[in-house]
Every structure is written in structure tokens, then in C-alpha cells.
């Protein structure tokens, strides 16, 4: 029914021109630019990467070589690099974000809440390049000296910890991403938790539950899908995050960039684009391959964000139309 109503309105406006109809129609045309931008982006990336896709076919996704002189390109190391760093970000960042969200929404004294949520917002306002600068000049030495050196010392024989612990590697990149996704995941989960009806909490309180039991039974179980959505939203941020990762991941290419160890320099899809796109020759396979990586990133980001928006939306029930 809803589908029909939108189209019928449109047809109605077109058949009876008036200033108001024109106003509505022209604002619709501009509002629809979002659709055009997304569709156009997909088309541009497919078109630009066509030479590489035509030459390598499916093996573009599974190839590991990256040789500009020999014109052999494979995207696998960078896809895996993005996967590994984003996974670290989610595994480390999401539990901390949920702790913050629960603390902010349910437990903290009211006087602290405002201050704390302001601080979390500031964390989101710090430019990604400044995370990068700090990661490159400060944070990586924390990781190298206090995390990697002791780990190598004790468990150095494990293959996932092989390599030289200089702090420019998958682990540092993943950890800096975990810091960067905290504001997104924490603030969206907090919103989701605060949208849980009071009656849920009151029901738990009325049978003598402690605050934590209220959160666990009344709030968390109720907001599960929204929190999942917030997590996916954080994953989306981690997948697309560029400058901070580029500065701390070490910038390896080809088979050397395969994530076989956490303490190895690597590369993500976003970082190889930043490192090489400006220097790729027009019309070369190198350029087409980089655009191909851009296309994969586009597909990842689009899927992740559609799923996340759907989950978060459903929970927060954002409705159209003016508030009555």
C-alpha cells in the first residue's frame, strides 16, 4: 500500500501543476540526489575497474601478487588485512563501548552522565589524521614496548606472534581502530538502551532485582538487535577508516602483506588506495586494480551499512512525517 501511495502522490502532482506542486517536486529531485550519488558511485567504480576484472576475473579476489612492473595484481592480502584489523577493532572496541553505554544509560550518577557523554563525543570529534599522527608517534611505542615485546618474549614461538615487534603492524592498526569505533558503538547502543520502555525496568525492579539484574534481564535482552546494529555500524567505521590505519599499518604489499602474524606490517583496502592511487598512471591496469579494490570496499561498506541501518532503525523506530 505504502509503495502505491508515494507513486500516486507523484502522479497527482505531475498532472496538476501549481507552485506548491513545483516546490514539492523540485525538492524531491534534489532529495533523490542521494540515490543518484550511490548508484553513480557503483557504476563509476565498476566501469573504472573493468580492465582489471576482465583480465583477472575471479582470481583478482584470490590473487596475492602486487607487481606494478609485471602488471599482476591480486586483492586478497588487502581484503584480509581489512578483515583482520576490523575484527580486532570489534573484538576489543565493542565490549568497552557496551560497558560505557550501560554505564551511561543505566548506572552512572546523573551528574557524571552529561560530562561523560560529552567526553565520548569529543573522542568522535578528533580528526582521523590526528589519531594517525598520535598512533604513529606515540601509541605504536606503547604497543611495541608494553604489549608486543613481552608477548614475543613469552610466546615468541607462536606463528601468529612471529615478526619484529616495532608497532607498525596489524595489531596496532586494529587497536587504534578499536579506539576510533568506541564513540559510534557506545552512543548508538546508549540510544538503543534508552529507548527501552520504563515498564521493562519496573517489572524487574518490582520482583527485587538489583540494578545489574535489571540491565541484564530488562534492558539488554530487549535491545539485543539494536546493539547488534550498533556493532555492525562500528564494523562499518572500522572497514572504511583510512588515515589512522595507513600511518600505523606499515604499508607492505603483495604476499608480504598477507596477515599471517599480528606483528607483521600489512595493508588494508583503504590504505593501499591512499598509498598508490595518486601515483597510478591513467589507463593502466594498476589504476584499474586500485579502483577494483575501491569497488570491493564500496560493496563491503554498502552491505554493512544497509544491515546496520536496518537493525538500528527498526529499534529506534524513526518515523516519517512531522511530530504531532
Amino acid at each position: 500500500m505504502a509503495e502505491r501511495r508515494g507513486l500516486q502522490e507523484l502522479l497527482h502532482d505531475l498532472s496538476r501543476p501549481s507552485i506548491d506542486g513545483l516546490f514539492k517536486l523540485s525538492s524531491l529531485v534534489i532529495a533523490a540526489s542521494v540515490i543518484v550519488i550511490l548508484a553513480f558511485s557503483g557504476i563509476v567504480l565498476v566501469q573504472g575497474s573493468l580492465p582489471a576484472l576482465a583480465k583477472y576475473g575471479f582470481s583478482f579476489l584470490t590473487g596475492v601478487q602486487w607487481n606494478i612492473a609485471a602488471e599482476t595484481f591480486g586483492a586478497l592480502p588487502y581484503v584480509l588485512g581489512t578483515a583482520v584489523t576490523s575484527l580486532i577493532a570489534v573484538v576489543v572496541g565493542v565490549p568497552i563501548s557496551l560497558g560505557i553505554a550501560i554505564f551511561l544509560a543505566e548506572m552512572a550518577p546523573v551528574s557524571i552522565r552529561v560530562l561523560l557523554s560529552n567526553i565520548i563525543e569529543l573522542l568522535a570529534a578528533v580528526p582521523s589524521i590526528i589519531y594517525g599522527l598520535w598512533g604513529f608517534l606515540v601509541f605504536r611505542f606503547w604497543i611495541a614496548n608494553y604489549v608486543e615485546a613481552p608477548l614475543v618474549h613469552t610466546f615468541g614461538s607462536l606463528p601468529v606472534l612471529a615478526g619484529s615487534p616495532y608497532g607498525l603492524d596489524f595489531l596496532t592498526a586494529g587497536l587504534i581502530l578499536s579506539i576510533m569505533i568506541i564513540p559510534t558503538v557506545a552512543s548508538v547502543s546508549r540510544e538503543v538502551m534508552m529507548s527501552v520502555p520504563m515498564s521493562q525496568r519496573e517489572a524487574a525492579y518490582s520482583i527485587g532485582a538489583t540494578k545489574w539484574e535489571v540491565v541484564r534481564t530488562g534492558v539488554l535482552s530487549y535491545s539485543r538487535s539494536g546493539i547488534f546494529g550498533a556493532t555492525i555500524l562500528g564494523l562499518g567505521r572500522a572497514v572504511g577508516e583510512t588515515m589512522a590505519v595507513t600511518l600505523v599499518i606499515g604499508g607492505a604489499v603483495g604476499p608480504a602483506a598477507l596477515p599471517t602474524s599480528l606483528f607483521k606490517p600489512g595493508q588494508t583496502m583503504a590504505s593501499i588506495i591512499v598509498n598508490e592511487l595518486g601515483e597510478a598512471d591513467a589507463g593502466s591496469l594498476h589504476l584499474a586494480s586500485l579502483l577494483g579494490i575501491g569497488l570491493i570496499l564500496f560493496a563491503f561498506a554498502f552491505t554493512i551499512n544497509v544491515v546496520a541501518q536496518f537493525l538500528v532503525w527498526r529499534v529506534l523506530k524513526v518515523q516519517g512525517g512531522p511530530v504531532e
Binding site: G6, L10, S117
Partner: protein, 283 residues
Amino acid sequence: MSSSMRRFKDRLAFALGALCAILAMIPLLNILYEVVKKGLSTINLEFLTNIPGVVGQPGGGIGPAIQGTLILIGLTTLIGVPLGLVSGIYLSEFGNNSIGRIIRFLNDVLAEFPSIVVGVVVFTLIVLTFKTFSVIAGALALSIIMLPIVTRTTEESMKLVPNSIRDAATALGVKKWRTTLSVVLSTGRNGVATGILLSIARIARESAPLVFTILGSQYFFSNLNSPMDALPLRIYRLALLPYPYAQAQGWGAALVLILIVLALNVGVRLATRGRLYSMRSRA
């Protein structure tokens, strides 16, 4: 389960929550500390107004980068704000149907889209076609990033305007377009302005799409069709130079950038004082 055990768990949950909050604050406080400590000693009038020096030799400044960031903010606002305003108006006033829902959904998707992908698309469309890195390409990429933020905040603030105000205007025989622009939009103007400030803060800190659109430059702005510098780009280039003076300049540039972004954010916070939380946290 004994009640003391339950009380212990309750305390433990509180302590863990507080610990998470403290953990998240450590990086923020350390970043601010480092940026201020290392940046402050670099900043002086020469540093703020000069062009970058010869690579490898101390001296020079970030004048072109500051100028470039301001130009980018201006151009992007010029393109992104009108489009976002009109889109927001559509969604708020006419968007309660299937088309509106699709646009609103995709707008939220675009708002969370990786900025680097936007940069790659604009690079392919503009830089490759015109065979030159340009200010226009950079402003276009940033406008695409700005558009969904302005759209969403405009829609949200216009929806806060009560329907009775629309009805009152209609009852006086005012046309819908007139009502929307001079009654609804002007009633919700604080929220709309907040959204615009937020979107400016967001694009001022963008760096990834600039690397291959405006490229960076040693000189002040010359024309729209050539490369230009910007603060985030300058910080990136300086960070990669293996000289202590360059790193110090990087911290100095970072301090300037963070001051611009924080000024915008604090301005927003003072203007809204706790309202519009969702708007702020997700921009």
C-alpha cells in the same frame, strides 16, 4: 543465589562500566596532552602564515594549509548546505511515503559511508577526466560527505516544529511553500544551524578523500583548477617525514586543526545544551 553474591555482582558491573569509561578516556586525554604540549611550542605567527620550507631543513609554516582548509570549508558549504537543506525539507514536509523512506534510508547509509570511497569516485570522475588534481574535486568530495549530515539534521529539526504552526499558516491562506520556508524552516532555524556547524566540523577533519583530489601544495591558493593544501593533508605529509622538526610541525598543525574542530563542536554544544543529543553523537 545468595543476596550478598547478587550485590557483589551488581557492584562488579558498576565497577566494570566505570573502568570502560576510564579506558576510553585515556587515549583522548593523551592525544590532547601530546597535541597541546608538542604543538604549542611550534606555533608562532611565522609558522601560521609562511609557506612550507625546503624538505629536510627546519623552518617554514602551514599558511597554505590553513588557507586551503578555510577555502574548502567555504566552497563545500556553498555546494553542500543548499542541497542538504532542500533534501531535509523534502523529507520532513513531504517524506512520509515510500519514496521518502527510501531516500531517508539511503541518506543514513551515505552518512556512514567511508569517505575514501567518495574520494575514489570523485577522483575517477573529475581528476581523471580533467587530468589535473583540483580544488573543485576536493570540494565536490567533501560536499558529498556533508550532504547527508545536513539533510538529516534539517529533517530532524523541522520535524520538531509542531503541526499547529503549519496549520495556523495554512488557515491564513498561506501557500505550502511559503509556510515551509518562512514559517517552519525559520522556527527550526537553531537546529538547522547546529546541523550545518556539525557538518562543517566533520568535513574540516576529513583527510582521506583529499589525498587524491586536491593533492596538497607548497604554495598558496592560485585557482580552482589546480592542487591546493589543507591542514589534514599537511599533517599527513609532515608525519611521514623522518625529521624531528617535521614532526614538531605536524603536532603544531594538529593543534590548529583540533582547535578549529573543537571550536565548532563546543559552539554546537553551547548552542544546544543537551538537546539534540542523537544529532550530535552521530554526525
